[in-house]
Symmetry: C2
Subunit: 130 residues, 2 copies
Amino acid sequence: MKNNLVPNTGHEFRSRCSIARALELIGDKWTLLIVRDLMWHNKHTFQAMQNSVERIPTNILSQRLKKLMDWGLVRREPYQERPLRYHYLLTDNGQSLEPVLSQIMGWGHEHLEGGLHPPGVSKNSDTRLV
Amino acid sequence: MKNNLVPNTGHEFRSRCSIARALELIGDKWTLLIVRDLMWHNKHTFQAMQNSVERIPTNILSQRLKKLMDWGLVRREPYQERPLRYHYLLTDNGQSLEPVLSQIMGWGHEHLEGGLHPPGVSKNSDTRLV
């Protein structure tokens, strides 16, 4: 099964290179932190993500979540009716970023003295809420 | 052996998270394309990198190369004296980004219809010129 993420918005990629294409989606300081929060940190509401230690600015969080939804990596669902509240969930395509996150985490741990959040967590607890 | 890349410039990371730290270095649309060019495309001069199909703007290429050198991922060496010309080479720490690049490439190939440039190339030819 092909999981083709090119949206119907007429997006034109800058080259055929898979790395260049991927960086058009995830090549910034914030997008993969949102994916991290959804994948491993059980943060599924706007408020929860906003409260992460990196303090993502509100407008950037909104914009990145919209982009992730436009590309089919994240979807949102209402979890409360009055008042209407949404939570955000990784789609299967979003979940497919786990090896990318793991590699980046391992590199940052090795070279930048960063802390390690074992990716195994996502396999033992249902952080996707699906 | 620890390959600690925190430079002596008093850089303050925004969190302990290895992913957040790594994205402070490589979290943009261009940096990993420069690493790609050095690692797999045998492009080692400013001109050669500037001519890559993604057409990186000159000022961004300068700024990113400087950052990569400040962090010890890239070094430059003179290859000609009159006029003085430099080429750019990955350090061992820069080379350690290969699994990160490979994962991103694989993901872009699978989901964004991108082309694949086999990472095995770097193991068969000495693209680092060291």
